[in-house]
């Protein structure tokens, strides 16, 4: 069984291995044991509500229960820009027009922005190569929306995600080459790494503060602004299907887009339903296709668990859980669980979920 649960200390090795495998693309999880351990500690404090809600970082592990190993990770940062300053460029337009001369020129313009400050971010999605496919990525990503919905008071109404920008096989990014490199005396990967380590004062110190008129940059740089790395395209598609949209902000280094939505508009949140648990002895069919599976999550913060089950387990008011699944989810007969389609437009009755207060 593949099970979502809070990330814990014993996941450090697996996490380090995944971070190393991911390479330079994932700056929020650098392959640095000390830093990763700090993140695990913070996640532990977050799920156990031992830190300020605004400082929380919820990290979810995808565990293969057969081995007890974490094979994937995903996260929610409760608020960004509180400890450090959170920077984006806003892709804006400057219009200059002279009626007298009949000239009307639109200049795309990058303006330094801190506008995501205090907003909740979904982040840090990693999945071991051998577990890719079969809806595991979907489970890792979507389980967060059920969590967000159940614990809304911990998060902002708006949720965003930063998408990795374009780079070539050597890790070069045309926007960095044309813009960042002129101001930062370092390689893109180094700037990205420093930023990922949470050291952002160098950005305040070195970053150009005045707007950048894109017509002055080469077309190679202009063309990647707001574009995602090929590896990230599936993640972007998934988020778009969930209702996330490009909000006009891009990464200051690589120009990758920020997508955002409001919790209420997230498809998984809109489509989630509740069911009462019943326990069954019938074993679960193993090879059910992704389109016929649903995500099932318990309603605990501290002991959050989620997995997937075939749609056939779902009845009008109840869901039948085999004993081992119920144990894994830490629920008993009579408890409520939340369900959501695993895949876009998956089969579930359109009925909104009202959490019992």
């Amino acid at each position: 069984m593949l099970l979502i649960r809070p990330l814990v200390d014993r996941d450090l090795d697996a996490l380090y291995a995944m971070a190393e495998q991911a390479g330079k693309g994932l700056t929020s999880l650098p392959a640095d044991r000390g830093l990763l351990q700090q993140k695990i500690d913070l996640a532990g404090n977050s799920f156990n509500q031992r830190c300020a809600p605004e400082a929380a970082l919820y990290l979810f592990a995808l565990e293969d229960t057969a081995t007890g190993q974490a094979v994937g990770i995903s996260g929610i940062q409760a608020r960004v820009g509180r400890d450090e300053v959170f920077y984006n460029y806003r892709l804006s337009v400057t219009v200059n027009a002279s009626r007298e001369l009949g000239v009307h020129v639109r200049t795309p313009t990058l303006q330094l922005s801190n506008d995501m400050t205090d907003v909740s971010e979904i982040c840090s999605l990693l999945l071991a190569d051998t577990y890719k496919g079969g809806g595991n990525g979907l489970l890792l990503s979507r389980c967060r929306f059920l969590f967000l919905d159940d614990f809304r008071e911990q998060f902002s109404e708006k949720i965003f995600a930063e998408m990795r920008g374009v780079s070539d096989t050597e890790g070069n990014n045309p926007l960095w080459d044309a813009l960042g490199s002129k101001f930062f005396d370092m390689a893109f990967s180094e700037a990205d790494r420093l930023s990922g380590m949470g050291n952002k004062s160098f950005i305040a110190e070195l970053m150009p503060k005045y707007p950048i008129y894109l017509s002055m940059l080469p077309s190679s740089a202009r063309s990647v602004i707001g574009c995602v790395h090929a590896n990230t395209a599936p993640a972007l598609n998934m988020l778009q299907a969930e209702g996330f949209n490009f909000n006009g902000l891009v990464d200051i280094f690589d120009g990758g887009p920020v997508v955002e939505t409001f919790i209420d508009n997230i498809r998984t949140v809109r489509e989630t339903v509740g069911r009462t648990v019943t326990i069954t002895d019938t074993p679960v069919a193993a090879d059910v296709p992704v389109t016929e599976r649903v995500i099932v999550a318990n309603r605990s913060m501290q002991h959050f668990r989620a997995t997937t089950l075939p749609l056939t387990c779902v009845n009008a008011d109840t869901i039948e859980l085999p004993q081992d699944v119920a144990a894994a989810l830490q629920v008993q007969a009579g408890d409520t669980v939340r369900l959501a389609p695993l895949k876009d437009s998956g089969p579930l009755p359109r009925q909104s979920f009202k959490a019992p207060q």
Binding site: L179, F202, M216
Partner: protein, 338 residues
Amino acid sequence: MWLVRPVTAEDIEPILTFAETHTRALPSTLPHEREALAGRIKESCAAFAGEHGAKHLARFLFVLEHVDSHEIKGVAGIDARAGNGQPFYNYRRDELIHASHELGISRRVEALYPSHSLTDCTLLCALVIVEELRGTQAFELLSRARLLFIAGHREWFAARTVVELQGIQHSDGSVPFWDSLGRHFFNMDFATADRHSAQLSKTFIAELMPPNPIYVTLLSEAAQQALGVAHPATAGNLQLLQREGFGAGPYVDIFDGGPVLEARTDSLHSVAVSRRKILRGSADADGPLWLLAAGEGSHFRCTLTPVGEMLDAALKVPIDTWRRLGGDTGDSVRGLPL
């Protein structure tokens, strides 16, 4: 022999021909259209007549005339107040230091700031001369006659005087600074922008110019190299102006990036050193060459002349110098050795 005098209404035909021939590359220096030129000449006549209004918005145009042929071989101007009542646009170069103490990085970042600081300075402008007279004494006469005029009418002019030197333009007409910056926002070629700048109110600049500072490092290599550099053709003029005390400050032209030279008006060599003298006759046509000006306002004349003898309060010059200056013995003149 050469004479510099205020332009008159009768000069319009020769100047039109002259402008068409000699200011093709830089139409902003002189209007090419009859009506615009006539207006400019009329403005100048009013300026020389002292009709300035409260704000001293006077625009003077001088011509360089060959004394015998009466041909006009050059034109030069002074705007008493740069901008002529509108903002006078420049970029001001300034450096910021982007330094990270922790990372031990320090980088000088140059930016161009839109500035109107030179508005209302006195502006030397519209200097054009026929090619064969470039670098001759006639050229020097034409350029410096303006400074003697300023010295003689000091109250009409501002405390600071500036000159814009033409920036780098390639032989194909391309202007690297413009192509890297202005072209993106004005959506026209340099020549068109230059012409509009001469003919229209500055509203179009306010409307089309990028409103924020520009990072120099984002300009093309060629534009960065052209920044603050004068066109080689202006080398002679540059030297002449430097001898007068002009120096390049932080300002450059918004269109071609050419340098703007600045000086305190009172410190200009021709203003500070020139003296009032009484005109006396001399039979002798020899002697050191002087720049000599006579006449107030519309009667202003300036020429080069040998000075036979210099007395404490008087100068002895050949009689034909008198004639050229429209003066007579006993007149007050102003001059200095060339």
